[in-house]
């Protein structure tokens, strides 16, 4: 397990002297809109900024994920990856400018994941200030096309094309401070699209209304009996349809996720939903299509894995109370490739997915110290002794 815990509270204090630079990075990157599939400007800024901050190497991979490398002392040790996704769930025409107050910052996309990206960008300077060097190269990757329909494409591509071994990885998310993600649920993200013909077919049971059809789909999914163990749940996340209050909706769309800690169960539920969709399509004489957007397999580190144990110790040393929960982020791709990895949150926040999302400034320094501690732990060799499986 990681031994040098005693230096971490001091890191947290020293990081406060870097507040201006860290906040500046968060503000400058966060002010650039980066909806999934349109992250180019944010990527360009990330690269320019890394160069400005005199990182050892800066490049993009074939998928345009921006990557900076802080060179390590050893040529033999595999690299450690630190990643944060660059995309946010907000369109370009939303005001992305942040408001800074005495203790908080607020604005669109801040908590998913502009804060994380800004902290990633600050790491080279943070390492310099804390006078830390590593044996491994530290690969700082701002991955694109991560959330929603992005389906983690950026990180998938990056790891697929990275042929050399990877020692371990830390995924940075804006919040919540204390999150300790070391396992991922199996997840199938899908969309159900309903299209009705403008004129009712003589054989149809009702006048066609896509919203009513989608409602029926929801009702039938809710009737499914899902076990408590293994865990499984269906999350209805998005819904849209129709044009005007007084017109029958001819199109509607439902977005949902099936999550389970047992992959086969998620697949079974998906099959059940497929049957529901087919049945309703036949019954209502409309077009109803179930489409898979993303599929992530369940994977985990054991709770007694040295990386998890070290992370818990790091958090406790810094006075952070860890809480565990599954994640469906970049973590799942690392774990599925047998690379020990964690997702950590930087600070406390509110209203994560609203345009007024906000973060607390002061706890951020502990959050960053925790990330630095976790990187140091991996560099000390804890994952070399206990690789996954």
């Amino acid at each position: 397990m990681f031994k040098n815990l005693e230096m971490l509270p001091n890191f947290s204090n020293r990081l406060q002297s870097m507040m201006d630079l860290i906040l500046t990075n968060i503000l400058l990157i966060g002010q650039i809109p980066a909806p999934t599939f349109s992250e180019e400007k944010r990527v360009a800024f990330f690269m320019e900024r890394l160069i400005e901050l005199q990182i050892d190497e800066c490049t993009t991979d074939g998928y345009r994920n921006p990557i900076g490398i802080v060179r390590g002392k050893s040529r033999d040790k595999p690299p450690i990856f630190v990643v944060a996704h660059m995309d946010t769930p907000f369109s370009k025409d939303i005001d992305h400018n942040f408001t800074v107050k005495q203790d908080t910052i607020s604005g669109t996309g801040l908590m998913d994941n502009s804060l994380g990206a800004g902290v990633l960008l600050s790491l080279p300077e943070i390492f310099r200030l804390l006078e830390i060097s590593f044996d491994s190269d530290i690969v700082l990757a701002g991955v694109i096309q991560s959330i929603g329909k992005g389906n983690l494409r950026g990180i998938r591509h990056l790891l697929k094309t990275w042929s050399a071994p990877i020692r371990g990885a830390i995924c940075i998310e804006s919040g919540e401070l204390g999150r300790l993600n070391y396992y991922t649920d199996g997840m199938i993200r899908c969309e159900i699209n309903c299209t009705c013909k403008p004129v009712a077919s003589p054989n149809s049971k009702f006048s066609p209304n896509a919203i009513v059809v989608i409602n029926e789909v929801i009702n039938q999914i809710q009737k499914l009996r899902l076990p408590l163990k293994p865990r499984c749940k269906v999350i209805f996340g998005t819904i849209e349809g129709g044009v005007k209050h007084g017109d029958m909706a001819l199109e509607a769309r439902l977005g949902l996720e099936i999550r389970s800690d047992y992959d086969e169960l998620a697949k079974d539920v998906y099959t059940d939903i497929q049957d529901i969709v087919s049945g309703i399509e036949h019954e209502y004489d409309i077009k109803l299509i179930l489409k898979t957007i993303s599929h992530v397999r369940a994977a985990r580190l054991k709770y007694n894995h040295p990386l998890v144990k070290s992370a818990v110790a790091i958090m406790e040393t810094l006075g952070i109370k860890p809480f565990k929960e599954p994640s469906t982020s970049e973590l799942s791709i690392f774990l599925s490739r047998k690379i020990p990895a964690l997702t950590l949150g930087v600070t406390y926040g509110k209203k994560y997915h609203q345009t007024i999302s906000s973060m607390q400034i002061d706890p951020m320094f502990k959050g960053i110290a925790q990330i630095v501690g976790a990187i140091m732990a991996i560099d000390s060799g804890i994952c070399d002794e206990s690789p996954m499986d």
Binding site: M19, D20, L21, L23, T24, L27, L28, Q31, D93, I94, D95, N97, F98, T99, V100, K101, Q102, T108, T355
Partner: protein, 330 residues
């Protein structure tokens, strides 16, 4: 009479820059040191708690810690009732209430008053004035304006221009809509009397920088007329060639309603007319009023809304005895 000669004037080609031209901040710092200059940034405020901290944080990080271009950041406040002063102080700016500066003088409220008093408070050879309500603030706003002042010996005053999208209350961005007073008031006036000045893209932009030796020798209207007077007075005393304009690409600002713009236009017109009158270009025969009269419909009748805009101007700072004493001017 045609203004054709203005169109052929090379100023717009030789004295128009883009902030990209000055992205090498280390080089700017080097020139600053070589010339032995000090630089002050002044942020005039009135209830800017939402934007002031962001400006201070970014400028301190990028232009003080990383590249020591700025020697001081000074906030001069007109009497904010929100947390502007508290927030600005907590992020490390030097904060002053305008009323506390040169307290023996009569007190006025207005942006121009703050800028004028900044001349007394600040130390720099170059002073940069930025509005404190810029939502998309970036350090280019400062280094862009500084660039021409540092790399040339001739340019003494720089003025910003940019796209002006407007942030609406819903958080959505509208791409156009700014610059109405420029296009409806100032540009027609410049075209009528000083066609050369039409080459200045946004004469009313609130971001400009210049040498103290210029600013201290011109009067400052206390209110909205400050940008207009500054251009006219500098043009009149030193000519167009000491002025440059810099493209800062994009500035997001709060939209103002038409009535507020009406008052702004009144002050600008008054400043302008006073100056052309003093130059003998027109004769108002002393018949100008100080009240801007607008009308509102209240219930079922029309009521006048009268604003007294006297257009008081502070004299050149160099004429103020306290200033002379502070800066050892005899």
């Amino acid at each position: 009479m045609t203004a054709g000669y203005a169109m052929n004037h090379p100023w717009i080609r030789t004295n128009t820059f883009n902030y990209h031209d000055f992205g090498d901040l280390a080089a700017l710092v080097d020139i600053k040191h070589r010339k032995g200059l000090t630089i002050s940034l002044c942020l005039p405020t009135l209830n800017e708690e939402k934007t002031i901290a962001k400006e201070i944080v970014i400028f301190k990080s990028e232009l003080m810690s990383r590249y020591p271009l700025l020697d001081e950041i000074v906030v001069i406040d007109s009497g904010s009732t929100d947390k502007t002063l508290e927030v600005a102080r907590s992020y490390g700016a030097d904060v002053f209430k305008a009323d506390d500066i040169l307290p023996s003088l009569e007190k006025y409220k207005g942006k121009g008053e703050n800028l004028w008093k900044a001349l007394y408070i600040t130390q720099g050879d170059i002073i940069i004035y930025l509005d404190a309500d810029i939502k998309n603030i970036h350090h280019r706003f400062v280094y862009g304006l500084l660039g021409p002042l540092l790399i040339t010996d001739q340019i003494k005053y720089t003025k910003a221009f940019y796209d002006r999208p407007i942030a609406s209350d819903t958080g959505k961005m509208r791409p156009t809509g700014g610059g109405r007073v420029t296009e409806l008031v100032i540009r027609p006036l410049f075209s009528l009397f000083f066609p050369e000045l039409t080459q200045i893209m946004q004469p009313l932009s609130g971001e400009y920088a210049g040498y103290r030796e210029i600013f201290e020798k011109i009067p400052f209207p206390i209110g909205y007329g400050i940008e207009t007077s500054m251009i006219l007075d500098i043009y009149n005393q030193w000519g167009l060639d000491v002025i440059a304009q810099v493209d800062l690409e994009r500035r997001i600002h709060r939209n103002q309603d038409t009535r507020a713009l009406g008052k702004m236009s009144f002050a600008i017109l008054k400043t302008f007319i006073n100056r052309i009158s003093a130059q003998g270009l027109i004769d108002t025969k002393g018949k100008m009023f100080d009240e801007m009269i607008q009308y509102s419909i209240v219930k079922d009748h029309i009521e006048p809304d009268i604003a007294n805009l006297q257009g008081y101007e502070r004299p050149p700072m160099i004429e103020i005895p306290e200033y002379q004493e502070k800066r050892n001017i005899f």
